[in-house]
Symmetry: C2
Subunit: 208 residues, 2 copies
């Protein structure tokens, strides 16, 4: 059994991580310090620093926590996806929702800061590699396709690239109306391409 002390510590940690993501989205990278996050989370600065000695510790932990929660949610939701017609559009719609949500907007602040800061970049690269790998695998599983075919693999990667581009198109304005049309159009393309690549149904057994 977990002692109450450990529970409190876990709750504090989680509040700090969520406040970090909110602060990144609202105030940006420069303004998101341990002190600002601690205040937002209603946690003393000392307690925050006990959990996360540096701003980089706090921010990378926050992105990992959010990403893992999101991917776990996506895997749970796979069973709710429609089979057959409409599955591709439902998967792409959800995928694009992730890339236009809070996690993406927070990560964009960190990635952009890392582009102009070699130390931060070294710290973020392993996250980028893991996030890319897990997001690709989750998309493959949700679409229910076989990515041993190189064209299928590239089409799924292109879909993730598209989703990332749609995420970026949404950071200054609400791009949801245009995006809905793009998702529908891309889904139809992807469906047609995946169908043409799918292994043909094996012929029925001969009548002997």
């Amino acid at each position: 059994m977990r002692a109450p002390q450990q529970d409190r510590s876990r709750v504090t940690r989680q509040r700090l991580l969520e406040a970090t993501v909110d602060s990144l989205v609202e105030f940006g990278w420069s303004a998101t310090t341990v002190a600002v996050v601690a205040q937002r989370a209603g946690v003393s600065r000392g307690a925050a620093q006990h959990h996360f000695p540096t701003r980089e510790d706090l921010i990378t932990a926050a992105l990992e926590f959010m990403f893992d929660s999101r991917m776990e949610q996506a895997r749970r939701e796979v069973t709710e996806l429609p089979e057959g017609n409409g599955r591709t559009e439902a998967v792409i719609g959800r995928l694009v929702d992730y890339y236009t949500g809070t996690l993406f907007k927070a990560a964009l602040q960190v990635w952009t800061a890392a582009a102009a800061d070699p130390e931060l970049r070294a710290r973020i690269l392993p996250l980028e590699e893991r996030f890319g790998r897990v997001a690709h695998r989750t998309a493959i599983e949700s679409l229910g396709v076989d990515d041993s075919d190189p064209t299928v693999r590239r089409l799924v990667q292109a879909t993730l690239d598209l989703a990332r581009g749609l995420g970026l198109a949404d950071i200054l304005t609400d791009d949801s109306r245009r995006r809905t049309e793009i998702v529908r159009c891309w889904s139809a393309q992807l469906d047609a391409a995946l169908t043409s690549l799918a292994p043909a149904t094996p012929p029925a057994s001969p009548a002997l």
Copy 2:
């Protein structure tokens, strides 16, 4: 005839704009001040402030200058594009080059800062609107397609969204190898889709 004084002023202005873009890419938004840019351009701070009273003036002028140069270059290069097979891949390759180049990396710093700064956002929105419109029209002209068909219009928009996503995938690591495969794969898809949408060749005139 232009007076030497005007020429010097124009050269100073252009050096400041180029130094701004370089500084955004190398040092990021926060560090790109008029003083830093003036020093980088070898211009006195007073002269820099004569041209651009505020950092926002300098940075928006720099993005507009770079964007207009890029689009002008793209329009000049249209005549060099191959006709028929290979044109789509050539156009998308160039498009993606723009989104992985210096201008995109500089603009990303500004867009990301604007996402967490309402005043800057208000200043950047008209640029975003214009850049999006001109980039779409240039892509349509380069591909040589008719975007009065709504599916063609969406496919071209999706291509720009994909290019933006590929740009973002390149900011921390050199993603060029994977990107080449994605460009080839999407170009084949887009070619097939545009061909199926193209108006059929009109039948030959009857022999009367």
